[in-house]
Symmetry: none
Subunit: 201 residues, 4 copies
Amino acid sequence: MSKQPDPTRRSERSRQAILAAARELVSEVGYAKLTIEAIAARAGVGKQTIYRWWPSKGAVVFDSILALSEPSADSGMALPDTGDIEADLKVVMRATVAEFADPAFEAPIRALTTEIINDPGLAAQYREKLAGPVDEAKKARLRSAQRAGQIAADADLDLALELLYAPLFQRWLLRSGPLTPEYADTLVDLFLKAMRPPLRH
Amino acid sequence: MSKQPDPTRRSERSRQAILAAARELVSEVGYAKLTIEAIAARAGVGKQTIYRWWPSKGAVVFDSILALSEPSADSGMALPDTGDIEADLKVVMRATVAEFADPAFEAPIRALTTEIINDPGLAAQYREKLAGPVDEAKKARLRSAQRAGQIAADADLDLALELLYAPLFQRWLLRSGPLTPEYADTLVDLFLKAMRPPLRH
Amino acid sequence: MSKQPDPTRRSERSRQAILAAARELVSEVGYAKLTIEAIAARAGVGKQTIYRWWPSKGAVVFDSILALSEPSADSGMALPDTGDIEADLKVVMRATVAEFADPAFEAPIRALTTEIINDPGLAAQYREKLAGPVDEAKKARLRSAQRAGQIAADADLDLALELLYAPLFQRWLLRSGPLTPEYADTLVDLFLKAMRPPLRH
Amino acid sequence: MSKQPDPTRRSERSRQAILAAARELVSEVGYAKLTIEAIAARAGVGKQTIYRWWPSKGAVVFDSILALSEPSADSGMALPDTGDIEADLKVVMRATVAEFADPAFEAPIRALTTEIINDPGLAAQYREKLAGPVDEAKKARLRSAQRAGQIAADADLDLALELLYAPLFQRWLLRSGPLTPEYADTLVDLFLKAMRPPLRH
DNA sequence: CACTAACCGAGACGGTACGTCCCGTCTTCGT
DNA sequence: ACGAAGACGGGACGTACCGTCTCGGTTAGTG
């Protein structure tokens, strides 16, 4: 029977200030050195106001990143579909490479990933709120390619996404190699070779 | 000009006690709640003895895992080579799946990965000391398959390893799906399809 | 521009617990072995609560002794005045001798003195808060004696107090000789001889 | 049956270096912040060499001050005796005032006093080695004055020294007033008044 | 239109851990 | 064998944050 705060009373001004402060501080000092006290101070907010609405530091950071992505999530979120799956995937993969190289994205995403690894709850939220919609858009494009006979009709699309993106993600996460547009292209080529439909005689 | 301790005077007894304590505590309380003080107390050691030889909590944990792997690293570290690359890879991949499922391995590896993500220095050490030897063994097996004409002779083997392992690693790291022997097999199948040498007429 | 804590929010309960713990611990282990950590633990208080309100160990001990004296300071604080300055001073000096011999007083006062010697700031506080009122009372009695023609009318009373008390204080502080009632009497006799008014014809 | 070090093997060079380092450091950082490690480092000596020959920090500092006084202690150590006790004492007292005002003397003496207060063993050593000879010289001068009928023949000379010096010492120790040549003179005047022999008719 | 309940900023509180300093002991090596 | 060097187990330091807990002071919505 614990006391739940009343969301209708919540100060939107404070919420925005907290998320903005969290975003800034993650970029400035990194996730590990980020503290609730610093967020509260930067946001001009009492600590209690943070503890009232978020259960953990990770949750705040997660929301702060989520808040960035939401506006674009409302809009279409569809991948290009020119009919040429290879060209379309290369465009998308090269864009992903560019995103990972952008320092403004890198710090928060790395922070978020760190937290997700050790918090299954956040991981679930991540898949639902952030990865989910994006993955759906990607799978929609692959389904279109299946219909066009460009990739195997019976392919497991979740697995397909892993095959395509996991090498890129791992190389970035562990810094185990350079992320270049050529690398993106090569991954697409290998992916298509693996997913190619069986030959008809 | 800074003062470095003299490694020849180092107490091997203390070193072992610290690494053992770190290993135990990571399993017991998890990496995030692991503290230097707890390691020192468990090891019966002064905190300064830890700070003297390791720059960070991450470095201690890294060494504690490294110490586990070293004995086996001395021995052969060769993968099975029956001539059947598909069968051999499936054995290895299934073993990897099993390893990731073992809670005794999972906790420290997850801890290590967390640390590696945010510490490029540790990441480099990881690649050199832990991943390196293993990857070399795997690439040796793939080279053997190249000689046997089972995979493309001009394939980039680092990339090949990423294609084969990254999906598995990512699924485990982000808990984005079940790790089963069948999954391991499927990855091998897709991998071989992608790496297959071009047909000669 | 530095951040001061707000005294109105101060916890009186904690303040009392800290002063009591400090008093007890000085008696138990002595001033040199007294630690802030032990005071905090005994008082059931966070260390920060001590550091927030006191600048040093010495200041805490000082306050803990001050707190003891304050209640009596409110009351009269007047010395006996029977008209016989010799008898009155001997009573007071013998009382001082007895006080110095009481182990319950000795430890904290010795601690306090140690700290005062090396901290001019504390020394000033000591004179204002502790020694000051007592000295005033003593000087009041001497002034009465001046009016009665028992000691020189033009005598410097601060100097007079030094002449009377310093030998006693020094013998106690340096343990350079026994503190007996007879010693007290002798000091009064010498003091009166030195302060006697000049003879009239 | 603990192992005693053999004094014949003792390195005089190290002993001197340690005492010099202690003297310097007391002046530089004060007694409270003085550490054995700093003394050892400054002296270019192992810590064990200090622990082998001295039981405590206080003992080292005591010896370091003692070493300064010893050369002069060997020589005469007699006070001036012009036959005029008042003039002679004023010279000596004014010299003491000047000594206390000298910062080079002040720091170590204050440190020494601090230690003596809390260590009865050191106090005894102090009286024997340092204060003793000086006091003897002073008492010799007073005895001469007794013979000359300038002070009471039956006066307790230890008490006399306290009466004369304690006010000065206390004022310096507690910083309770200015130390001036006039103050020294006044003390001598009062002292002589108190010690004056009884009138003969 | 007062009343009152909630959120809010602020920040003191009991704690835990930090990374550092120094203690006094012990060990190694060089002279 | 002593001395320099310094690693060791240990204890305390003073600081940074944790998450909880009052404090007034707004700020709604209700009676």
